[in-house]
Amino acid sequence: MTDSPQAIIERLRRLRAPGATCDRKLLSDLTTVADVHVRAAAGRTLEHVPLDLVERDGRALRPLKIALAATFMADNTAPLLRTELLTSGVAPTIHTVAFGQTLQELTQPGSELEAFGPQVTLILLDDGWFLPAGWDPNDFAALSRALHERFSVLREAVRAFAERSGSVVVLNTVPLSEVERRSVISFRGRARLGRVWRTLNSRLLRLAEGIDLVHALDLEATLVESATNVRDDRLFHYASAAWTITTESVYTAEAAALCRAVAGAAKKVLAIDLDGVLWGGTLGDDGPVGIQLGNVYPGNAFRDVQARVKALERQGVVVAAVSKNEQRVVDELWQANPEMLLDASAFAAFAVSWQPKDRSLRDIADELNLDLGTIVFVDDSAFECELVRTTLPAVDVIHLQGDPATFPRRLLAQRAFDVLETGAADRARTRRYHERKMRIHHALEFTTAEDYLHSLGTRIRIREADESALARLAQLARRTNQFNMVGNAVPVASDLVLSVEVADRFGDEGLVAGVWIDCAGSSWLIENFVMSCRVFARGIEFAVLQHVAERAAAAGATNLLAAFRDTGHNAAGAACYPAAGFVPVDDEAGDAAHVLRLDPLPQLHPDWITMETEKAEPDAGTR
């Protein structure tokens, strides 16, 4: 039984008192509160609560610096965002730009906003900022020009700020107020206004496709589902508040998902139950043809669930089946029932057995070499959901119960898998996990690890990253937690960025690692080194370090420094530098934590790895 919203606020209040005791259930209880006013009040109080009092077991909070700049008074966005993020694994530090200062703060080098050093900058846009006062309802060409002019000013400010700060910058499509639309009385004119306005919104969306660090939230589209007044005219005229608190909360839910993606808190694995979730009924009792799955309700609702899971899988979400069943019965299903939308090959892992599901989830995390905190568990049984909530607090749980027609929406409602972008690596992810499994089976044929590694025929290609590789490396850095030396923020001014691709006899792993380097004279500094957990334990990191060391020595450097910061998630990465012969260094002023002397050159390269080096076009990899 969870406390009432009022009681939860009361518990929060107590946490501000000196000597308050920990309340580790508070954040998870807060997720049950839907009232936006209570959520905003909670956010205001949470700002003054020491986070170690509320941190949940098994869920370390990831820090993220967020700047908030609105073209209007957005009083509730910061507290709503704080509540939303703290309850989903991110500890934000929020800087709010003073009302009316947005453009100035974006464009002025050295502004307070820039000095804050945000990782994410949310720019909240309202229609009043774009619309010229007293626009002529008979002259849409003039309106269109005026809107474009405003847009151009914004575009240049955003472009310059993104380049200077390296911050992810987030814009939104803008809903046009009802009174503006009703001011045009002809239907033809109103249609024209709609088109002119949508052109502005299209330009905002296109900006996100054109500039690497810029993203756009399609707020206009998101609001359609929320059936709310976008603004309260009284508060708009009295206090320049262009959005109601409900509009702010619709925006915040979307913005928070983006912030989680930047902070590396997005989920990666969908561990999904079979009976009652992917089809109706019980496979073991009803048989492969007797289950509910097909063109008519409720079978079509279950097919829709499969369609959504398939869409997630195709974009890189790792799907695992967690079912209490006979493996043989499940295997037969694909042969027997043509209505299955999901192929068996869409699953990266099957945990089909009679053991408790918390144990199955642990097995899956081991098999995929992923943290439990990256898993979303979906089940129709209240018992299984409660079991996993209690025994594995790091795992997110979605309980699908009741009408299966509601399942697809609820599966996606938490936006748990949202990422900034998806690419080729994501589309091939499930196949790579299958190849990984073949590698593991293959390994069993060898008595020594060395023999096995030799038999893999691993090839590495290291290149200076070009523009497209830089973008993919930034994405890799955001999703990678275990082998990530300083955390998810990507260095913006590195002299040299190297991309590492790996292939072996089982397939092409693609881009799996990146190194960001500051090439300063006699001491080169590795600002960050990130590697996908898929390729752990194959000596790849040592081959990469050997390459960097040789490159530094050839350029006349005598020391190779390496930055390291304990993020609470990167124990796997922490072991790398000491194992490669780096020694700790005391560098309080700088970022370096380890150093390796380059004379004589270290011999780190494992002899089972073949190196293919290639230079990109001159200057392409540096910026």
């Binding site: 006013h37 209570v38 009040a41 508060l235 206090a239």
Partner: protein, 90 residues
């Protein structure tokens, strides 16, 4: 927010809502308490209280009348009036 069933619960609801927004202890938020004298009171706090009340009770206040209210008791009265007017007009 807990929803008051009757008018006589409105004052209790108000006091808690004011406490949530201003952090003033409920004991200090009596009918005679002046809103402007409460700690953390500001024009933004006033608007937060307004929207909280309206969304929780399903009423719509005239902003000019709301801004003219000085004490918790006056606000309680304004709210009762508004609930009655809103009921009649709906």
């Amino acid at each position: 927010m807990p929803e008051p069933a009757d008018d006589h619960e409105t004052l209790e609801f108000l006091r808690e809502a004011i406490r949530d927004i201003t952090d003033a202890p409920v004991e200090e938020v009596g009918p005679d308490a002046r809103l402007a004298a409460l700690g953390n009171w500001s024009s933004l706090a006033a608007l937060r209280l307004l929207t909280t009340i309206e969304d929780s009770l399903g009423v719509w206040l005239d902003l000019r009348e709301y801004l003219a209210v000085e004490t918790v008791g006056e606000l309680d009265t304004a709210l009762r009036d508004a609930r009655q007017t809103n009921d009649e007009s709906s």
